[in-house]
């Protein structure tokens, strides 16, 4: 009985833990919502649209709606399908990285610039692959792919510009 009491007493409270972790940047979570509310409405709009695009992409993938539009459907090459899966995973990791940066409110601009260049590599190589593998006359897949990828890239650039403006204003203050 006595031992139980002492172990209960030695356990730090939530307030104590918060106070301990307060000065540690890694644990100083500000939450995505808090960070977004500090940013402009355009930044929030870009982030929300990017999340919606991701959600619709994941839904489209799991429902099988995206399958006929993929390069692997035209080439029947395993490498195309595996490449898509790998890039899908990297895309999710990039979203996780962006969300963590927003959550911590640190290095947002740098992280999104990195994500933008990787996305550009995916976009250029993916478009080129579709152009080279599509049968003649079926431009719907190519158009859809290009429009989605271009939208993502434009939103990323917009997000970076907005973050740059925010940081500049913060520095001036």
């Amino acid at each position: 009985m006595k031992n139980d009491d002492s172990s209960r007493k030695s356990k730090p409270s939530k307030e104590e833990l918060d106070a301990l972790f307060k000065d540690m940047p890694l644990f100083d979570l500000k939450s995505v919502r808090n960070t977004l509310y500090k940013r402009s409405i355009r930044f929030r709009f870009c982030w929300v649209v990017l999340m919606l695009l991701t959600l619709s992409y994941v839904m489209g993938w799991f429902s099988g709606a995206l399958l006929p539009m993929m390069a692997s459907s035209f080439t029947n090459l395993d490498a195309d399908y595996q490449l898509h899966q790998l890039r899908f995973l990297i895309g999710l990791l990039m979203i996780a990285g962006g969300t963590i940066a927003i959550n911590l409110d640190r290095n947002i601009q740098s992280v999104f610039i990195g994500i933008f260049w990787v996305q550009l590599y995916f976009c250029v190589s993916g478009t080129l692959r579709l152009v080279r593998s599509l049968p003649e006359g079926s431009t719907f897949s190519l158009t859809t792919y290009t429009v989605i990828q271009s939208t993502i890239l434009v939103l990323m650039v917009w997000l970076i510009v907005e973050e740059r403006i925010y940081q500049r204003n913060l520095y001036r203050l």
């Binding site: 090459l77 990297i90 260049w117 590599y121």
Partner: protein, 129 residues
């Protein structure tokens, strides 16, 4: 150590440019199918441009005294992604050439990845100080 890591990066970039130039100009290219051939040719072309552009931007920024940490960060991430693509997916598509230049690239690549990651972190640390 930083100079040594930078030297590995320069050597690797030089070898890659030489190898891709050789691959794109020669007929000793044996992918498993026509579709695979197109895939590997396209990716090779994109990658050679990434290496050339990345190296040019890095050298230009270094020469003009501008910040390098973001450029290096982006190049490191892209280099790792291309490595994963090659190792996990494209090993069955791309041929393994017997040319000594290709062997040199394959051997130096892991060292390059470690070197470029080290240089990127070091640069971030130096510019942050």
């Amino acid at each position: 150590m930083l100079k040594f890591a930078q030297a590995i990066c320069y050597v690797f970039a030089g070898l890659v440019i030489a190898l891709f130039t050789l691959v794109l100009r020669s007929d000793t290219f044996e992918p498993v199918s026509t579709s695979a051939s197109i895939l590997s040719q396209d990716l090779s072309t994109i990658r050679i441009w990434i290496v050339v552009t990345g190296l040019s931007v890095y050298l230009w920024r270094a020469a003009s005294g501008q910040s390098l940490r973001l450029t290096l960060g982006v190049l490191t991430v892209v280099a790792w992604i291309m490595f994963f693509e090659d190792v996990l997916v494209l090993d069955k598509v791309l041929f393994v050439t017997q040319h000594p230049l290709a062997t040199a690239v394959q051997v130096i690549r892991p060292a390059f990845l470690l070197a470029v990651t080290y240089v990127a972190f070091k640069q971030w640390e130096l510019e942050g100080a």
